[in-house]
């Protein structure tokens, strides 16, 4: 099938629009999405305060902001095709001319825009209640943020392909991997480099997670005014990860889709 840019763009736009409309058209969603990042980061900020280092509460608030996006990747990207399969939408995707990659990218963009209010609210909450002071290098912050999201959502695309092969195990897997990734990636504390409690080997393992590299660069650029010169390696790694994960995700999706067609598991529903 020849690549049709117009069709790809329209599919991507439609999928993103559905996600944005469903979130902003239902304000309760905003409150729902806010619970975990807001309360977890508040608890960690209070833990920093109780440990005698209240001025590090900013690490917890930054963690909460990124947790909002990571939660969106886990629950609204990785699991999405599995849920779509259960409700019969996935087979509609397959028989339509819509490119699956455009659906995934649309889902990602829609997910990012739908998560922005949670991230903004957590930031404001941290600023007002924990008096978080920052010393940002804005260009580095912007680039790091964009590349971290790109690689995280590319990871979500890969996971969504893998979860397609699973049934209800997907939800349990999501529950199981969320916290270990939060821990290894140092969402609330440095897990790589200076200040990390992890042995070198574990830091290497943790570095394979895009969130680890992103959090490290974000902490440096948000709190220590480290510019692009200081975080360029993180940026290069994040860009590389995004490209590799996108490619692998696309291949995995095609391969699992083909396997699903042969085994007849693409249209298996729970109800």
């Amino acid at each position: 099938m020849q690549f049709d840019l117009n069709l790809w763009y329209r599919t991507m736009y439609s999928r993103a629009w559905v996600r944005i409309k469903s979130t902003y058209g239902e304000p309760v969603w905003l409150a729902v999405n806010l619970a975990v990042p807001l309360l977890s980061s508040s608890a960690m900020a209070l833990l920093y305060r109780s440990a005698g280092l209240g001025n590090y509460s900013g690490f917890a608030i930054l963690g909460g902001i990124m947790l909002a996006f990571w939660g969106n990747v886990l629950w609204s990207m990785a699991s999405q095709f599995n849920w779509d399969k259960e409700t019969g939408i996935f087979e509609i995707y397959l028989v339509s001319p819509a490119p699956i990659s455009a659906i995934l990218v649309g889902m990602s963009l829609g997910g990012i825009l739908a998560t922005v209010p949670s991230a903004v609210f957590v930031s404001l909450f941290g600023w007002v209640f924990f008096s978080v002071s920052i010393s940002p290098s804005w260009l580095a912050v912007f680039l790091t943020f964009v590349l971290t999201l790109a690689s995280l959502y590319a990871m979500g695309m890969l996971l969504s392909s893998l979860y397609l092969a699973y049934g209800r195990e997907a939800e349990s897997l999501n529950n199981a991997i969320g916290e270990p990734i939060n821990f290894l990636s140092g969402i609330y504390f440095p897990s790589i480099g200076a200040g990390s409690p992890f042995p070198f080997a574990l830091q290497i393992v943790a570095s394979f997670i895009p969130l680890t590299i992103g959090m490290d660069a974000l902490r440096k650029s948000v709190f220590y005014a480290d510019g692009i010169r200081a975080v360029w390696l993180n940026l290069v790694i994040l860009a590389g990860m995004a490209a590799i994960l996108l490619y692998v995700g696309d291949r995995a999706l095609k391969s699992l889709e083909e396997r699903g067609r042969r085994q007849g598991t693409l249209v298996v529903r729970l109800r």
Binding site: L47, Y48, S50, A51, L173, Y188
Partner: protein
């Protein structure tokens, strides 16, 4: 007798749903990984913050390990009643339970008891794992007093928390009857707020006044205190006092929970919510 049989049947069903959707050993591993990682995450935040502030103590590390491990169980309770009712409405199980002679009150009790039972090994494993990993990472032994006596005291405290657990189940169950979407929202908020208010990670006096008073009203705060009195401080009087508050507070909350659930069910029947679902 009929009531007890209904509770046991629901507990058995809850166990099957939570633990036997796959191999039970694998299910236990999957259930334990997340709480253990969360406990380690909190311990590392403390280590990082307190080391830089020069205030790190092994006793405080133990405080966090115990609180965060027990909190894992409390958080799990928040989701079970919602799952029992929201999923039950979706799969048509809840309306069928509702029309049985014993109706849904013992059903919810059974599901909460199953959650209590399957959380016990999760607490034990996540506490043990986080203890050893903390030692490996921070080179400090958290001061935990592990003996038959302290383990029995913790078990006693966990058993004493059953009324409070059931109360939480009934209150969240009352909410779940009426919602067809966003049913996970309230449990997420409740479990998050309990993390802050029930002294899971830090003493309530860290919170600005009058918020510490909220902690004093929650039975789960006394569960944390009783477990710490047993496992860290070896303080029998503090343990007994916390157990008293835990049991009395739990019973009061349970009475409120059952009344709220009965009223909610009656109102839901009148408004046609019992079998309402959104696909």
């Amino acid at each position: 007798m009929r009531l007890l049989r209904a509770v046991l049947a629901a507990a058995w069903m809850g166990w099957k749903r939570e633990m036997e959707w796959t191999n039970p050993a694998l299910s236990l591993v999957i259930k334990t990984v997340a709480p253990a990682a969360a406990v380690l995450g909190a311990a590392t935040v403390y280590w990082f913050g307190a080391s830089f502030a020069g205030q790190f103590t092994a006793e405080r590390l133990a405080y966090i390990l115990v609180g965060a491990s027990i909190y894992g169980q409390v958080a799990a309770y928040a989701y079970v009643p919602t799952s029992a009712i929201a999923e039950g409405k979706w799969s048509n199980l809840y309306p069928q339970v509702y029309i049985t002679p014993t109706s849904s009150t013992p059903y919810l009790a059974g599901r909460c008891i199953a959650s209590f039972a399957d959380s016990l090994p999760v607490i034990a494993v996540s506490l043990a794992v986080s203890y050893y990993v903390s030692y490996a990472l921070f080179r400090v032994s958290p001061t935990l007093l592990v003996s038959l006596r302290s383990i029995l005291m913790v078990l006693g405290a966990l058993l004493a928390s059953v009324p409070a657990t059931l109360a939480l189940g009934y209150v969240l169950g009352s909410y779940s009857i009426f919602v067809s979407r966003f049913e996970w929202a309230l449990p997420s908020y409740v479990s998050g707020l309990l993390m802050i208010f029930c002294e899971a990670l830090f003493p309530a006096n860290v919170l600005p006044y009058p918020l510490p008073l909220v902690a004093e009203l929650l039975p789960f705060t006394y569960l944390m205190r009783a477990c710490r009195a047993a496992l860290i401080y070896d303080l029998w009087p503090a343990y007994v006092a916390s157990m008293g508050f835990l049991i009395c507070g739990g019973l009061v909350f349970l009475a409120i929970g059952i009344i709220a659930f009965s009223l909610a069910e009656r109102s839901a029947r009148g408004k046609g919510f019992i079998d309402k679902k959104v696909m």
